[in-house]
Amino acid sequence: MVSVRNLSHSYGNDGRLAVDDVSFDIGKGETFGFLGPSGAGKSTTQGVLTGLLRLQKGEVTVAGYDLRTVRKERFNKIGVSFEQANVYSKLTALENLRFYADLFDAPTRDPHELLELVGLAGRENDRAGSFSKGMKHRLAFARSMLNYPELWFLDEPTTGLDPAIAAVIKGVIKAEQAKGTTTFLTTHNMYIADELCDRVAFIVDGSIKLVDTPRNLKQRYGKKLVEVEYLRDDGSIAKETLRTVDEGDRERLAGIVRSRDIVTMHSKEATLEEIFIQITGRGLD
């Protein structure tokens, strides 16, 4: 569905690359996550893939269209949800969806049904300008599903939403996945990546450090953490998390076991975030 080869993108002429030689593929029906801290280049990548940013360098095919030739009709198959909710403040929720629906040359979904889906039922006829940030975000999210997209771009779909609403949105995304929608999702939330993505790319400073399934990552790195609690000389309890793959950590663990009173010790499954830190040397926020 998406094929990206050696994509680079720079905003200025200073040679600084917001995206630096990135390559990946997204298969049909797959949910592919871009996990990385702020400024990593996630939105920039989505911008190029959706055609909002000009393709500067690299080869990109999206939904069967080569991005070097601009064909607007491809958007009949694509849905895009933005990082910043962007809806017409002077139109009602319903009018926003109706207007956008009319721009497609393809069948579109019932706006009422979509508003219901994202929890905006009852607010159809309120102006979007009177909505809270989270409500606007949900409206823009609903809009991205209007044309039954085969390929769906979601930039931070749950960021800034309260947990209950985030759960609703996650549910909607899962339902679409079940229907076979191909999804490109960016996030700096490891739980989202873990829960929703078939494969995750770790992106830092514009480059992809690794691509794998969350499960493989956890199997490969997961059992290799040991959490140990021991008594200090003054009687207080110290707690350390040590990596069994790291030579220094192993020495340290051996030393603790040899010379200290162990309170608890167990191997632990690493979260994606801990794996992210192991691999990239950087945290997610």
Binding site: L52, R54, V87, Y88, D102
Partner: protein
Amino acid sequence: MAMIAKVMRILRRDSLVASRDSMLIIILAMPVLMAVGIQLFAPGIADSVVRIGLLDDDPADHAAFVAEYARVERFGSVAELERRIAKRDEIAGMVRSGDGYEIVVQGDEGPDLLNYAKLLNALYELGGSRDDSTASVLSFGKAVSPIKAKLANMLILMMVMLSGMTISLGIVEEKSDDTISAVNVSPVSQNAFIVGKSLLGGLSTLASIVIALLILGYSGVNWPMIILVGLTSMVLTFIVGFLQGLSSTDVIEAATGVKMTMLPIAGSIAGYELLSDKWQWTMYWSPFYWAYKANDLILTERADWPTVLLCAAMVSGISLAIYLVAIPRIREGLS
């Protein structure tokens, strides 16, 4: 086909927002109100400005004939009439002498007034009337009040400028809501978007030009000519509207920016009106000069198609040149 439907959809959306936006309604209603104002509060300028003095005992048919073409004042005696003529403003007297009429003037009047009075006299003696007179008779020029024509002309150019402001406001809305990016990831081409975004400003301005001219009593004007010149002169303000909308962050900024086109418009009007024939060429660069000139000829019924087409071609040519310079910036701003 699909493209036209989308263009119309954008127009419908814009109209809906405009109907909710008092600012836009004011912009659109203002010129019509000004036309009503001109018509109501300045009835004098609606009449012919040529003044002719007649004696009270002037035959009714002659007096009625003259009144059709000029503002008539009546006097009890020749002495009274002469005292009036001696005043500073321009008025010619027509006094019966023998079979015909004598034209009485002070001597310092412009040649136009004297010629006009003479022509009127000749026309009367020939038994001509306005209805069966030929164009050459009408074209002695003052059948349509020139001041009113100038005011109507200025009003038209003001409306043209306002169309740019309407477009600018529409773009500012898309910008502040950041909705252009949403439209950019829909199957709407940028051209369709630009045309769609121009329609409300364009159509409403054409409509208010027509309404204003009807209010001002120009129902008999050559409409195809007026609309051709109106459309071509709008192209430039559209470009200004788009550029200004794209570079402004709020409504006030956009409005201020478009108002700057008032400068070349005012300059063009002043140039056309005040510069002698020898210096008119210094205004040829301005599309508004050509638009004003064309409208002036059309409103005073002196226009012919070759001249109007030349003016329209000059307006479009200059606008096209500016468009070619501006379009990369517009396209970039919209993406």
